[in-house]
Subunit: 285 residues, 2 copies
């Protein structure tokens, strides 16, 4: 382990990157985050992630300690310092260190900003080649999933439960409709070839990759329906896939016990993944 | 600031009590906590808090790094080291430091255990004397509130929203029924003198103080109904109060715009508070 971590303006060896136990991110999950993909040492869809970070911060009345240019610079510097070719940048912003209290600390209390990198082969990975299986599990998360907070205990528990059931990951449902994956947007393709993706609301995160994929699908003449779909509809789908910042597009070939299509990655997912990688790689900054 | 904090077997000045940014408590709210009241330098209702901690840990498959005797010793030592006469001990247990992943780290990964103290005049405080006002707000938390996790962002937001509305705190409701306060159990007394407290389920925390108060109420011949009550019933209550580890019993004299009773702490709350303090102070260890 030899990464360099960014913490409140300092560049630290990861073993020295520590926060106070009084940090509200640690004590109260009072924190937001973003994950930006790195490809060829460049930032993929940076504008989308930066915009969503700003929105999460506004919703929680959190002030970002860096302006737009500084934030971009830190992203670029952390890639350079860690020689990341493929992987991701994780960013977390908390309401800072304060005496533990449900009342927010006074305005002006310094926030905590941390960034670190993870390397991952995002272009070639087994999941994308073979597809993944998902287990359908109830969505027990809080009701403001449009804000990207670190309240990730349930998604983590759901992933573990999915694995206990022999699946790779979970798709969550609520009120008879799929919300999203444990850390990805859920999509299906109906038997008559319509791409169905849940419409945005407080029930799910506005995926940056999701938005791009819908745009690419429309550009390629696919019929796109932004609406909720049920677990039953997912079981009967012609194709299913997830999208996320570092998975791009990965086929779901099994939902609970139902094999989707012929059990191998489908055409929609393959086409969209290829177009996504091609266009977003070219546009990376 | 000069407290001594317990962190993974070490006693540290609070400024040095730091955890890795890779701690799952910081990154994923993968952590549980307890708050134990201190009175006369002794632990109030320790057995109840220790038992609930064990239950939260079991539910999340978290292993406590200390056995029962060691845990009690640490509680006593932190009181002594910080010369706490009245106040509280905060304890947090996380799944430890690991590369960020929704998959739990391997079994045997060391957990993170931190304890710190806060001083507070728990016997005499203004809230108990004058009562508090609460605003009714929707309960947007996750669905496993029976586990005492650090996913406290929404309770914190609700407290801030309550304050913005001119109230002292929030009572949360869901599906037309009050669940609990932002950090306390909600109780009402009906016009015909029945103490009504929501029955236990995954919708709310099994309050240690709640259990004692119900026991004391029954011992004093009060009629106790463990059932959900609606916001409307709360608005029309003869009396209302909260219970929590460090508030004991505090009257609610206003719910939204409705004055409860004559707007001063009621008889049930006063009697129960007095009996609670008397008996639990005597039984503190």
């Amino acid at each position: 382990m030899s990464r360099i971590v960014y913490l409140n303006g300092e560049w630290l060896p990861e073993a020295e990157a520590k926060v106070s136990v009084f940090d509200r991110g640690f004590l109260m999950a009072d924190a937001i985050y973003e994950v930006t993909c790195v490809l060829d040492g460049k930032l993929v869809e940076y504008a989308g992630h930066a915009a969503r970070l700003q929105r999460s911060a506004r919703e929680l009345k959190l002030a970002l300690p860096l302006d737009d240019d500084e934030l971009l610079s830190v992203h670029r510097e952390i890639v350079a310092r860690n020689s990341v070719d493929q992987g991701m940048i994780y960013l977390q912003l908390t309401r800072g260190v304060a005496e533990r209290d449900f009342v927010f600390p006074p305005e002006g209390t310094p926030t905590t900003l941390v960034l670190f990198t993870q390397t991952k082969n995002v272009l070639v990975n087994r999941a994308a080649e073979t597809g993944i299986s998902v287990a359908l599990l109830p969505d027990l998360r809080w009701a403001r999933r449009d804000i990207k907070t670190v309240q990730l205990l349930y998604p983590s528990m759901a992933k573990m439960e999915a694995k206990a059931r022999g699946a790779d990951d979970a798709w969550l449902y609520e009120d008879g409709m799929v919300t999203e994956g444990s850390a990805a947007t859920a999509h299906i393709v109906t038997s008559d070839g319509r791409l169905v993706t849940r419409d945005l609301s407080r029930a799910l995160l506005a995926g940056v990759t999701r938005a791009s994929i819908l745009e690419l699908a429309k550009a390629h003449g696919m019929i796109v329906e932004e609406r909720a779909f049920s677990p039953q509809e997912a079981l009967q789908a012609r194709e299913a896939f997830i999208t996320s910042a570092t998975n791009f597009v990965v086929s779901v070939v099994k939902v609970d016990d139902a094999t989707i299509g012929d059990g191998t990655p489908g055409e929609f997912a393959r086409v969209l993944r290829n177009h996504y990688v091609e266009t977003r790689r070219a546009a990376a900054i």
